[in-house]
C-alpha cells in the first residue's frame, strides 16, 4: 500500500528579479525562517533580502592557507637541515629566502583545497538526490525561473496561508510539492 503523500513545500515561480526580491522580503517579514530561493544565477541582494548571515568559508580557506604555509616551512627545514643536511655549493641548509617559492605554492594549494571542500561541506554537497527533483517548475530553476519555496518544516507552516501569501506576492504556478 502506498504511503500517504507528505507535504514538503509550497513553491511559487517568478520571472522578474525585482518582484522576486520584493517577495522574498515579504516572506521573511511574515515570519518564515525555513524557506529558500532557487535561481539560475546568483541574484544580487538576495542574501540580504533573505537575511542570511555571511558565509564562514573565508575562515576555512584561511585555515587551509595557514596549514599549507606551516607544512611548507616544516618540510623544507626538517628535510634540509635536520634529517638530510647535504652541503651543496656552501648554501645554507635552511633559509627563509630560498624557501619562498615552495612556501607560496603550498599555501596556495592548501587554500584552494580548503576553499573547494569547505564550499562543498557548507552546501552539504554532493547530494545526488533532491526531494523536489520530480517537480518540473523546480527543475526550471537551472534554466530561466526563480523558485521561492516555503518548506513544510517551517514552524509556522500552514498550507493555505503560505499559498495565499505567495499568490499575493505575484508568484506564478503556486503549488504544493509532496513526497
Amino acid at each position: 500500500m502506498m504511503a500517504r503523500p507528505r507535504p514538503l513545500a509550497v513553491m511559487g515561480n517568478f520571472s522578474n528579479p525585482n518582484t522576486l526580491l520584493f517577495a522574498v522580503r515579504a516572506v521573511r517579514e511574515a515570519g518564515y525562517t525555513d524557506f529558500d530561493v532557487y535561481t539560475p544565477y546568483p541574484v544580487h541582494g538576495l542574501e540580504q533580502a533573505m537575511g542570511l548571515r555571511r558565509s564562514k568559508l573565508p575562515y576555512i580557506s584561511f585555515a587551509g592557507g595557514a596549514l599549507g604555509l606551516t607544512t611548507a616551512l616544516l618540510l623544507q627545514w626538517w628535510t634540509g637541515a635536520v634529517d638530510y643536511p647535504l652541503n651543496i655549493g656552501g648554501k645554507p641548509f635552511f633559509a627563509w629566502e630560498f624557501s619562498i617559492p615552495v612556501d607560496f605554492e603550498l599555501t596556495v594549494l592548501f587554500t584552494a583545497f580548503a576553499t573547494v571542500f569547505g564550499f562543498l561541506a557548507l552546501c552539504r554537497l554532493p547530494r545526488w538526490y533532491s526531494d523536489y527533483q520530480h517537480d518540473a517548475g523546480f527543475r526550471a530553476a537551472t534554466d530561466d525561473t526563480f523558485v521561492l519555496s516555503i518548506h513544510a518544516t517551517d514552524p509556522q507552516f500552514e498550507l493555505e496561508r503560505a499559498q495565499e501569501l505567495l499568490r499575493s506576492l505575484g508568484a506564478e504556478d503556486v503549488r504544493l510539492v509532496e513526497a
Binding site: 532557487y38 651543496i88 617559492p101 587554500t111
Partner: protein
C-alpha cells in the same frame, strides 16, 4: 518613517540621447535562449567539420605519443641535443606551453577581480585551454628526464634511500609551481562548471549523458544559500590564482635566471616571462575562440567587442615584451661585461639571428596593427596576427635557450643545434593532444559560462530603486 528614495545616477547624454554601453551579448536573448544555445551544443550532432578536425588532431596526437614512446624506449639520443646545447625544443616547448596557459587564469581570475564583465564569454574556454596547455607542458620535462619512470623522485617522500629532494634548486621549485598550477586551475574550472553542469543535467534527455551530468553536477539545485557560498569560493579562488599565475612563470624563469650563463642570469627575467606568457596566452585564446565562434555559431556571445578588448591586451603586453627585449640589450651594454655583451650580439647577429629577427617581427611589429580600431575588430587580421604571435613567442623561448647554450665558455665546445624529426613530431603531437582535448571539451562541456552569462544580461539583476519603491507603496 518615510523610506528615502534610492538615488539613481543620470547616465551621460549626447544630443538628448542616452549613451548606452555596447551590449556584451548580442541579439537580446532571454535566459532560456542562453540555455538553449549553449546546452544545445551538447545534444546536437556534430557536423562533418567537427569530425574532420577531430580526425586530424587525433592523428597528430597519436603520432606524437608514438614518438614519445620511441624516445623513452630508445633514449634521448634520438633528439638533436648535443654537448653544449642540452636544452632544445623540449624545454622551449615546455616554457611556451606553460605561458599559453597563463591567459586562461588571467581571464578567469584577474579580470574577475577587476570586475571586467566581458570575460564571461571567454573565461570557460580560456580556463579549459589553461588545463590542456599545462598538461602538454608537463609532458616535456617528464620525457626530458630520460628515465621518466623515476619522475616521482622529484617529490618529497620518505624512501629507502633515506634521501630528500634539494629545496635549494629552482628545478624543484618548478615541480611545485607547475603541479600546484595544474591542480588549482582544475579546481577553479570545476567549481565554475558545477552550476552549468546542473543546467545540462536538467536539459539533456538521453540516459547516459544525463547520468554523467548528474554525477558531476554533485546535486547542485541553485539554492540561494548555496550561491552565497559559491560566490565567496569563486572570489577566494580568483584571489589566490592571481598571485599564483604571476608566480608560475616567475619560477619557470628562475630555471634560467638562477644559473650563471650570460643571457640567462638577469633580474628582468621574471616580469619579462610573465608578460610574455600573458601575451602568448591571449594570442592562443584568440586563435581558439575565433575558430570556436565560427564552428559553433557563437557570434552573438563572443562579439567583436570581446575580440577588440583582447586585441588591446595583445597590444599592451606586446609592447611590454618589446621593452624587455630593448632593456636586455641596454643592460648587456651597460654592464660592461664582455661575455654578456657577446651573448646578446651573438643572439641578434650570430647563427640564430634569423630566429631573433623573426621573433622581433612577430612579437613587436605585428601587434602594432592593433592601434587601429578597425583592425582590432577585423576577424581575419586578428586570426593571422594571433598565429604570428604564437610563432613569435615560441621563437623567443627558442632564442633564449639556444643562443645562450650553443656558445659555451670553452670555444672548443661550440656547436649548432637543430632538432631531429622526433623532436618536431613530439611538438606537433602536443599540438594534436591540445586541440583534441579542446574539441572534446567544446562538445561535451558548456563552452560558455551559462550562469555567468545569464547574470550579465540586461534586466537580469534587480534594480534596487524599483524594489524600494514597491516596498514604499505597499
Amino acid at each position: 518613517m518615510q523610506p528615502t528614495p534610492a538615488t539613481v545616477a543620470t547616465p551621460p547624454h549626447v544630443n538628448g540621447q542616452e549613451l548606452q554601453r555596447e551590449p556584451l551579448v548580442l541579439g537580446n536573448p532571454t535566459l532560456h535562449d542562453v540555455t538553449e544555445k549553449i546546452a544545445g551544443i551538447a545534444v546536437s550532432r556534430p557536423s562533418w567539420k567537427y569530425w574532420l578536425t577531430l580526425g586530424i588532431t587525433g592523428t597528430a596526437a597519436a603520432w606524437g605519443l608514438f614518438c614519445i614512446g620511441y624516445t623513452i624506449a630508445t633514449g634521448i639520443g634520438v633528439w638533436g641535443l648535443n654537448n653544449p646545447v642540452a636544452w632544445g625544443w623540449d624545454i622551449t616547448n615546455f616554457v611556451w606551453w606553460i605561458g599559453i596557459g597563463h591567459a586562461g587564469t588571467l581571464i578567469s581570475a584577474i579580470l574577475h577581480l577587476f570586475r571586467q564583465r566581458w570575460r564571461t564569454a571567454i573565461n570557460r574556454s580560456a580556463e579549459a585551454m589553461t588545463i590542456f596547455a599545462v598538461i602538454c607542458a608537463g609532458l616535456f620535462p617528464l620525457i626530458h628526464l630520460g628515465r621518466p619512470w623515476f619522475a616521482y623522485w622529484l617529490f618529497p617522500y620518505p624512501n629507502q634511500m633515506q634521501m630528500w629532494i634539494n629545496f635549494r634548486s629552482p628545478l624543484v621549485w618548478d615541480v611545485f609551481a607547475v603541479s600546484t598550477y595544474l591542480t588549482v586551475s582544475i579546481l577553479f574550472w570545476y567549481l565554475g562548471l558545477i552550476p552549468d553542469l546542473a543546467t545540462l543535467r536538467n536539459y539533456v534527455k538521453r540516459r547516459i549523458p544525463k547520468a554523467l551530468y548528474t554525477f558531476f553536477s554533485l546535486g547542485w539545485v541553485g539554492s540561494a544559500r548555496h550561491w552565497q557560498h559559491y560566490e565567496i569560493a569563486y572570489l577566494i579562488l580568483a584571489a589566490i590564482s592571481t598571485p599564483l599565475v604571476l608566480s608560475v612563470h616567475s619560477v619557470v624563469s628562475f630555471d634560467f635566471a638562477v644559473s650563471i650563463l650570460p643571457g640567462w642570469h638577469t633580474t628582468i627575467f621574471p616580469p619579462y616571462f610573465v608578460a610574455g606568457a600573458i601575451f602568448s596566452g591571449f594570442a592562443m585564446v584568440l586563435t581558439l575562440v575565433l575558430i570556436m565562434r565560427w564552428v559553433l555559431n557563437l557570434e552573438n556571445y563572443i562579439t567583436l567587442k570581446h575580440i577588440d578588448n583582447m586585441n588591446r591586451i595583445l597590444l599592451a603586453t606586446g609592447m611590454m615584451v618589446g621593452y624587455a627585449y630593448a632593456m636586455e640589450f641596454f643592460i648587456a651594454m651597460y654592464s660592461g661585461n664582455e661575455y654578456e655583451r657577446y651573448a646578446f650580439l651573438n643572439r641578434a647577429f650570430g647563427p640564430y639571428g634569423w630566429a631573433y629577427w623573426a621573433m622581433v617581427f612577430c612579437n613587436v611589429a605585428v601587434p602594432q596593427l592593433f592601434w587601429s580600431p578597425r583592425l582590432r575588430r577585423n576577424v581575419v587580421v586578428t586570426f593571422i596576427a594571433s598565429i604570428l604571435v604564437n610563432v613569435g613567442m615560441w621563437l623567443e623561448r627558442f632564442v633564449i635557450i639556444t643562443t645562450s647554450l650553443h656558445r659555451d665558455f670553452l670555444p672548443s665546445s661550440w656547436d649548432y643545434y637543430a632538432p631531429t624529426w622526433v623532436e618536431v613530431s613530439i611538438y606537433i603531437g602536443t599540438l594534436g593532444i591540445f586541440f583534441t582535448l579542446f574539441l572534446l571539451f567544446a562538445k561535451y562541456v558548456p563552452v560558455i559560462a551559462i550562469a555567468e552569462t545569464k547574470a550579465i544580461l540586461p534586466g537580469a539583476q534587480p534594480e534596487h530603486h524599483v524594489v524600494a519603491e514597491a516596498a514604499a507603496s505597499r
